[in-house]
Amino acid sequence: MPPKVVEAHNLTKIFNKKVKAVDNVNLEIEQGETFGLLGPNGAGKSTMINMLTTILKPSSGTAKVCGYDIIREAAEVRRSIGVVHQEYTADEDLTGLDNILLCAALYGIPSSTAKQRAWELLELVELKEAAKRKVETYSGGMRRRLELACGLISRPTLLFLDEPTLGLDVQTRVAVWNYIKRLKEEYGMTIFMTTHYLEEADAICDRVAIIDHGKILKIGSPNELKSGLGGDIIEISVNTDKLDLTTLIREIKGVKEVKKADALYRIKAERGEEVAPAVIEAMRSRGLTVSKLSMIKPTLDEVYLEYTGRSLRAEQASEEEMMALRRTLHKARG
């Protein structure tokens, strides 16, 4: 069994004696895994990351990160992890290169190694040309990529990514994920990330956890969670309203549930793409034709909705507004 990189036991954080930001979380992450924490604003994702990265002390409970206790061996934890925060943390008045070198120095990396790695990373995140420009001239996408480079300078065994693609346009998001995937392959890192984009989590994470009000509501691989909802939904219309085909359909392998509404059948099945042809075949062998067929595969959106009772879509607008606000704040300072 691969070693555990994160082990959290009853991890809890209470702010100001009343806000339970993280509530008795138990969590295990294996080496090499990409783990995603999904949840609405204020669910406790960043608080969770802040505790695991030793920025915040838990109110109760314990956790081990890379085998070290987050309270007693905080320095060792910090040495083994890389963190990309939700906010942009680079120093605006310094150049991209200076920012990376500063991070390297904070990790105690000797300057010759640091320089070599910094240029490698700048190449990787395609910031080589902009390396000697001040960060205040960077676009949002460039800043994110710079943050990523900073998080990777120490070649961490575990990389924390707090909303790494927040506020980025679609192309940049895809680009950022491509970098992350490449880095993962190159360095064999374990990744602990949070995101608001469920399609991303679905495509990238080996396992996800849905968190709300500080509690983990559901944990598993994206496929497990999706099939946990009862599987795909196939709807067919058959050109007969005399026969009741419900029992016939139910006997087909893989079908879990059938509902009839006039000539329309609503079928729940584990793997829709295999069941649908079988259904058509069964109809044809009775001399019936399927006149219409549609299939819905549940996405993480449905899973998310099921467990949090909220849809993420509605929240994204305000999230983008917040980013805009943050950028204004950055500017205000210059």
Partner: protein
């Protein structure tokens, strides 16, 4: 694993250097920080021409025919006894050295508030840098900046006519040592006050509230002897007075209010107490 530096002091220089880069790579801020003492020197120092009050044509008693040389001699004696030097400009110029030091030290608090607000502090906290390195780096960068600025102020003052006839290399060194101790103490104080704060407005308010009173309740602008007793008491425990006094003794050959060794001991104790306290408190706070 690659070889990394795990000493508790690693990262201090990188953090210090970062603050310094922000300072010397942004000429605007650099110039701004010099403008205020310059204005004070040029306007205040020259406009409040106290020297002229007592010497030359300004001082004339009608009816009495006192010879000009006598008047001037009396004026000089008054100046010398009051300010320890023959012109007020030189007196004030040395006071300005302490002023620029205090002013820069106050900004160290401001900069740590910004680091917190902009998330930079959180980033630093997630790296293996020792917590104490963070306030230490702030204090060190402040000391370097403030001393550089004091040197420029001294140069400006010399150009504007400060009495430089008594300046010696040893005197300069001693003066800057006194300023260094003063800055270490005040920078530690303001970093400690700021380390929990996320509000730069509050920090600004503290600065505005304190900067003139602590300056006027010292001998930076005016000698202590002529103050009311209560103010004298404050001025005599105010470390600014000792720094200014040492600088005046060493740069202007003025008779001091206390002897040099007492002044240095007082300043060293001030710097040691506040920096130790500051680093311990911020270390504990940042480890939460």
């Amino acid at each position: 694993m690659d070889k990394v530096n795990t000493s508790p002091l690693h990262g201090i220089w990188a953090l210090t250097n970062r603050d310094l880069k922000k300072w010397y790579k942004v000429p605007f801020i650099f110039l701004m920080s010099l403008i205020q003492p310059f204005i004070w020197l040029a306007l205040f120092g020259k406009a409040m021409n106290i020297t002229a009050l007592f010497t030359g044509s300004a001082f004339n008693i009608p009816g009495l025919n006192i010879p000009k040389e006598v008047v001037n001699q009396i004026g000089k004696q008054i100046m010398l006894q009051t300010f320890g030097t023959q012109d007020y400009f030189s007196y004030l110029a040395v006071g300005m050295l302490t002023f620029i030091s205090i002013f820069t030290a106050m900004f160290s608090g401001m900069s740590i508030v910004w680091d917190r607000r902009l998330g930079f502090l959180d980033k630093v906290l997630s790296t293996p840098v020792a917590r104490g390195a963070i306030p230490m780096a702030k204090v060190i960068s402040t000391v370097i900046r403030a001393l550089a600025q004091a040197a420029i102020v001294l140069l400006l003052a010399a150009l504007l006519g400060m009495d430089i006839s008594h300046i010696t290399p040893a005197g300069l060194l001693g003066s800057f040592l006194a300023l260094l101790l003063l800055i270490v103490g005040f920078a530690s104080l303001f970093v400690t006050l700021a380390i929990r704060s996320t509000s730069w407005e509050a920090q600004m308010a503290v600065m505005n509230l304190l900067n003139l009173p602590i300056l006027f309740a010292s001998n930076a602008m005016f000698p202590v002897n002529y103050m009311p007793t209560w103010l004298q008491t404050i001025a005599k425990i105010n470390p600014i007075s000792y720094a200014a006094d040492i600088c005046r003794q060493l740069l202007l050959a003025s008779p001091g209010m206390s002897d040099l060794s007492f002044g240095f001991t007082y300043l060293a104790a001030f710097a040691a107490t506040l920096s130790t306290l500051g680093i311990i408190l911020s270390w504990r706070y940042l480890s939460k």
